[in-house]
């Protein structure tokens, strides 16, 4: 039996070998997670149905009553709903991880000689790919009901890309939470109580100037507003100004906190 496998030898592998293994583990993990997406299409439906409803309800029900500086409300609100939806994707990251904990699968993985960060990074990458899919879908539907990009091709790509980038560290932080609480139900409670205030007290759905004056500074300081503003400016073909740099700083800082936290939560052997 021993002769039938080429199990790696037991000497400590070189840094290079470990790096190669880490990359390979990450790829396998991404593949495994994508397979789950494809085989559980209800996951995709779940994450796309409510944002599309949001888009339609905001545009046709609330849109008429909200004054914006943009040519029409859909142009104003689509980037907001898009970035919100992408952020919600992080919620799916946490749920997926909590499911894998509950199903005992992570105990199997943690007993294997595989890279610890591959489990987290593999999850984040798969969810990022699914976010690209969601973004394309939403922009497509937005265009059917009147949304138009106002800028160059690059700016039009940059607009959703900002949202996708911004969602990444948020997903990592969600992942850390999901791996710490280890239950799908708890993730639901924490997720909803966090995401709604963060996304509504922002520039996503209404202009900040329309809020009470005590709330305006909160909405303006909200990093989510920053991402929405940057995404919206690019969609309109306007200069995003400092919001673009602000978003990038947030992404770097939050990633530097979120990813190691998530890896640590996963590796913990209490």
């Amino acid at each position: 039996m021993t002769s039938s496998t080429t199990a790696p030898s037991l000497t400590t592998p070189s840094l290079m070998t470990r790096f190669r293994w880490g990359v390979s583990d990450t790829f396998v993990m991404v593949g495994r997670n994508l397979l789950r997406y494809v085989r559980l299409p209800e996951n995709i439906v779940n994450v796309t149905v409510s944002p599309i409803m949001f888009l339609l309800l905001f545009t046709y029900v609330l849109g008429g009553a909200i004054r914006t500086s943009t040519p029409d409300y859909i142009t104003f609100v689509l980037p907001g709903i898009l970035v919100q939806t992408l952020l919600f994707g992080g919620f799916g990251t946490a749920l997926g991880l909590a499911q894998d904990v509950q199903s005992g699968l992570f105990d199997r993985y943690r007993s294997l000689p595989m890279s610890r960060s591959a489990v987290i990074v593999g999850r984040l990458v798969a969810d990022l790919l699914s976010n690209i899919f969601v973004a394309v879908l939403m922009i497509g539907i937005g265009m059917l009901i009147g949304f138009r990009f106002g800028g160059s091709f690059l700016e039009s790509i940059g607009s959703p890309a900002i949202g996708i980038l911004f969602a990444l560290p948020a997903a990592a932080i969600f992942a850390a939470v999901g791996l710490t609480v280890r239950s799908v139900e708890a993730v639901n409670v924490i997720g909803f109580t966090l995401i709604f205030p963060i996304t509504f007290v922002s520039s996503a759905f209404v202009p900040v100037e329309s809020m009470p004056s005590w709330l305006q500074p909160v909405a303006e300081a909200n990093p989510f507003s920053l991402a929405v503003n940057a995404s919206r400016s690019l969609a309109l073909g306007e200069d995003p100004g400092s919001s673009l740099g602000g978003v990038l700083i947030w992404v770097v800082v939050l990633s530097a906190i979120g990813v190691p936290l998530a890896v640590r939560a996963y590796s913990r052997r209490s």
Partner: protein, 329 residues
Amino acid sequence: MVGAASAPAIVVKGLTKTFGKVEALRGVDLEVERGVVFGLLGPNGAGKSTLVRILTTLQQPTSGSATVVGIDVVRDAARLRRSIGVAGQQVAVDDQLTGLENLEVVGRFHHLSKEESKKRARSLIERFDLEDAANRRANTYSGGMRRRLDVAASLVGDPEVLFLDEPTTGLDPRSRLSVWVAIEELARGGTTVLLTTQYLEEADRLASRIAVVDHGLVIAQGTATELKERVGGSVLVVQLSDHGRLEDARVVLSRYGTNPKVDSSTQEVSVPMSAGAGAIAEVVRALDTGGITLSNLTFHQPSLDDVFFALTGHASEVAAAEATGKSKK
């Protein structure tokens, strides 16, 4: 570099583990030789899984030390993971993946090549009798199939030491047998297997050495035969026709052996008797004199159930569960 080839497969010294106020392990010492099937036998909550989880690097001990194939389970966990295989108490299969894919993914995580992973997956699928379901998603599998797939996954890395935490719990007799046969095959191939079980029969059949664990301590160790000798001879079981006389019968039997066990659901009283078969006639006369009528009488080699009772003073969970099952009928 590698743990000395001559080192025992598993060495555990003074291992403790507490969860808040719960002392799951209270100082376990254990040594498992290479190439044997070692049975860890104990009731619910004894600490079997905790010990397995520590030895497989999933948890850290509170104090004490443990090595597997000479590798420290705490300090050198990453290296140890290349030498072990685990099938935990909770079955861990990927529901949305097929049986083959499940095993292939594990192979890839062992850093086998794609082709090697596929080959290995195929041979394990065959070995565990899952060919018909190989390309079906695991969420269509029965409990027994999932368990077999899980055990198969623990073998993908061709481990030196294999840990199986209650590998046959919930299996029907046929599935159980196929897992047993696989374990016996591995043992013949020289793999060390540490197996936890609540089925005394299972430990008896598979394990060449058994440690009995109760309340976080190893309370006895030895071969099945040695443990049976601890009971002190063969066991006499009398079944009464009258439920009301169980206590009287117990008093009579206590004159011929220590600590008779009463099972009111089956109306049986059993006692280990070192005096041998010659004393049976005497017992029957004594019961007869007391006006206690028997519906059945057997005299047999002690089972591990008897061992468990003799060691702990309480029945094993399985025996207890069987008893309640019987009384419900």
